[in-house]
C-alpha cells in the first residue's frame, strides 16, 4: 500500500471511530411516558372526566397517585379493546360507583344540578324585567323645575337655610 492510502485508511478508521462515539453521545429525544399517542389522547380526554379516588379533588388525568396510575393503565387497556367512552365509564362506575365520575351524569338525580343554574337565571331575568317595568313609572321621568319651584329655591338659598 502506498503511504497515502495507508494514511487514508487510518483517517477513515479514525473518522469512523469518531462518528461512532458521537452517535452514542448524541442526546436522545426523550421518549413519551405513553407508548401510543393516539391512545394517550383518548385517555386524557376520558380521565379528565373521572375522579382520582384517593386524592380528594383531582381528576384521574392529573393525579400521580398509585391507584390513579393503575386505573389509567386499566383505561388504556380498555381503549385498546376499542371500548367507547361511555363503556369505559360504565366499567369504572360498576366497580367504584357514581363517585368516580368527575362530571356528574345528566340523569333524573342530577337534573336539579344541571338545570338549576339555568332556571335560577331565568327566574332572575324575569324578576328583573318585572322590577324594571315597575320602576319605569316610578317618580316622574325628567325632573323639570317649574317657575314656582325655581322661585322657592332662590328664596331658600338667599335665606341661608340650606341643608
Amino acid at each position: 500500500m502506498t503511504s497515502f492510502l495507508k494514511r487514508a485508511k487510518y483517517m477513515g478508521l479514525v473518522l469512523f471511530a469518531v462518528l461512532l462515539t458521537c452517535g452514542s453521545l448524541q442526546a436522545k429525544e426523550a421518549a413519551l411516558m405513553a407508548e401510543d399517542p393516539v391512545v394517550e389522547k383518548r385517555l386524557i380526554h376520558i380521565s379528565e372526566e373521572l375522579r382520582c379516588l384517593v386524592c380528594q379533588n383531582e381528576s384521574l388525568a392529573s393525579s400521580r397517585a398509585e391507584l390513579a396510575n393503575d386505573l389509567r393503565e386499566e383505561v388504556r387497556k380498555l381503549i385498546r379493546q376499542d371500548k367507547s367512552d361511555s363503556q369505559i365509564k360504565e366499567y369504572l362506575v360498576t366497580r367504584y360507583g357514581d363517585f368516580v365520575l368527575y362530571r356528574p351524569e345528566v340523569k333524573p338525580l342530577t337534573w336539579v344540578l344541571w338545570f338549576g343554574p339555568f332556571l335560577l337565571l331565568l327566574a332572575g331575568v324575569v324578576g328583573m324585567v318585572f322590577y324594571l317595568r315597575q320602576r319605569q313609572s316610578g317618580s316622574s321621568g325628567k325632573q323639570v323645575l317649574t317657575e314656582e319651584d325655581r322661585r322657592k329655591v332662590q328664596e331658600l338659598l338667599k335665606s341661608g337655610d340650606a341643608p
Binding site: E29, A30, D98, Y102, L109, L113, R135, G138, P163
Partner: protein, 641 residues
Amino acid sequence: MIVEIGHFALILAACVALVQGVLPLAGTAFDHQRWQALARPSAAVQFLLIAFSFGVLAHGALTDDFSIKYIAEHSNSLLPAQYKFASVWGGHEGSLLLWMLMLSGWTVSVALFSRTLPLAMVARVIGILGLVSTGFLMFILTTSSPFERLLPAAPDGRDLNPLLQDPGLVIHPPMLYMGYVGFSVAFAFSVAALMSGRMDAAWARWSRPWTVVAWIFMTAGIALGSWWAYYELGWGGWWFWDPVENASLMPWLFGTALIHALMVTDKRGGFKAWSVLLAIGAFSLSLLGTFLVRSGVLTSVHAFASDPKRGVFILIFLALVVGISLTLFAWRAPKATLGGKIGLVSRESMLLVNSVLLVVATGAVLLGTVYPLIVDALNLGKLSVGAPYFNAVFVPLMVPVVFLMVPGGISHWRESRLKELGQDMLVPAIAAVLAGLAVWTLTERGSWLTAMGTALAVWVVVGLVMQIVARLQKPGRIAPSFWGMHLAHLGIAVVVVGITMVKGYEVERDVRMGLNDTVSIENYSFELTGVSQVDGPNYKAIRAEFKVSKDGQFLELMKPEKRKYFSSAMPMTEAAIDTGLFRDLYLSLGEAIEGSTPQWSVRVFYKPFVSWIWYGAILMVLGGLFAVSDRRYRNSAASVA
C-alpha cells in the same frame, strides 16, 4: 403561666364582646346615650385583649413552647422562624384566633373612622359586630381553644404539613381572612339600617369604602391561594373548584355584586333592599365557608381536621346570625322607599343585570358544592361534582358579566339612549370580533373558546381605553374612582387573557428521561444533565438539573426536586418554574423508573400567559385601592343626614 393569662384574656374578651353587643344596641332601643357611647371603648378593649391573646400564642410558637397542645401539633423546633409564626394559624384553633383578631381589628377601625357618623348608627354597627364576636369567642372557648396544655410537654412539635412551609402560607390566609371578616362591616351596616327602620341611602354611602377594602383583601387572598397552589402543588394547576376554594369564591362574587349595587343605592337611592340583601348574603357566605371548611361535611384537600361537634356549633351560629338578619329583612325591607325612575337602558339597569348574573353564578357554585351533600342527605347515594360541572356552568354565566363592563361604563345614570350606546360600542365591537377571528384562524389550536376569550378581553380593553380618552378630553379633575373602575376592569380583562391562553394553548409533555435526554416544546428544549441527592433543613430530596435552551441558545438551568420531609410519609414535588411575561416553563419531577439505565418520569409544561392571571388580580387590587382613595366616599357622611 402566660398561656393561662392568654386564655383568660380570651374569656375577658368574650365578656367585653357581650357588653359591646348588648348595651349599645339596647341603648339605641331605649335611647340611652351612655350605653350607646360604650360601643367605641368596648371595641377598643376587645381588640387589645384579643391582640394580647394572639400575641401569647405567637410567642408560644416562636419560643417552641410544646406544652401548648396546639403548638405541639402545628409547629416544630426545626422550622424557620417565619413558619413558626405562621403555624399560629396553620390549624383550626389558631386560625379562629386569627379570625377574631381581624374581626376585632375591623370593629375598632369602624370605631376610629366613624367620627362623622351619628352615634346611634355607630352604636348599632359596633353592637352587631359585638354580637358576632361573642358568638365566635364562645365557639373558641367551648370547642376550640388554642391554649389547651399538653402535660407533660412534647419533646418536639409534630411538624406542619410540609406543603404549608412556604412564603405563600404566611400571606394567603391572613389576606383571605381580612376579606371574609371585612364583609362583616357591610353586613353590620345593613342590619343596622334594617334595625333603625331607616333604610335610606346613607348606610350605603358609609358602607362603600369598607366593602371595597374587604373586597380588595378577598381578591388578593384568592389570587395568592391560586398562585400558591400553582407553584407549590407541583402539577401546574391553579384552580380546582375544591369546596374550600369555592367557599372563598362565593363571598367574593357577592362582594363584587355588592360593590356595584351600592353604587346605585348611594347615587340614586335605588336597590336599597337589594343592597341590604347582598350585604347580608356576602357575610353569610363567609360564615357558610367557615362552616364548610371546619365541620367535615365536605371532603377537600385543605379542609381542617373535621369535628362534627364543632360543625354543630357553627351551624347553629350561622343559622342564628343569618336567620335573624333575613327575618329582619323580610320585616323591614318592604318599607324601603324606591328610588327614582330607572330607564330600561341605563347604568342602573346594567348594574342590576350585573347583580343578577353574579348572584346566579354564586348560586351555581353553591349548588355544585353542596349537591353531593344534599344527595347523600336524601339517601340517594353518593356522587361527586368536579371541575367539568363548574366550568360548564360558571363560564357561560361570567361571559355576559365581563361583556357588560363596557356598556356599563359608557351608559348614563337613569337613562341612556340605545342608539348612542350602540355607536359608542361600535369600535370595541369591531376590534373584538377581529381579534377573535384572528385568534381562531391564525393560531394552530384556535377554537371558538379561545376566540371568545380573546374577543371579550379586547372588547373590554378597547372599550375602557376609549372611555379614558373621551374623559381626558373633557375638562375637570378626574376622580380616583374613575381610574379605579377602569383599572379593576382592565385587571379582569387581563385575567381573562391569562385563562384563555393557558387553557387553549398549554402544552404538556409527560416523558421518561435518562441522562442527556432532551424534550422540546415550542422553541425551548430541556436536557436532563444531572440528578443528585440534596439535604435540606428538614427534608431529603432528589434534585434533577435541566439545561434549558431557547432557539438553540443556552438559557438557564432549572432544578426541580422531589422532597421527602422527615415528618411526613408523602413525598412533595417542588416544581421548577421559569416565570416569564408571556409564558411559564414548568418542570415537575416524578418517580424514578426501573430499567436498564436510570430514568425518571418528568412532566414538562409550557404555559402561555399564565402569570397574567395573577397580574390581572394585582390590577384589580390596585383598582380597588384607587377607588377607596377617592375622598368623596370618605367625607360622605357629613353631606348626608
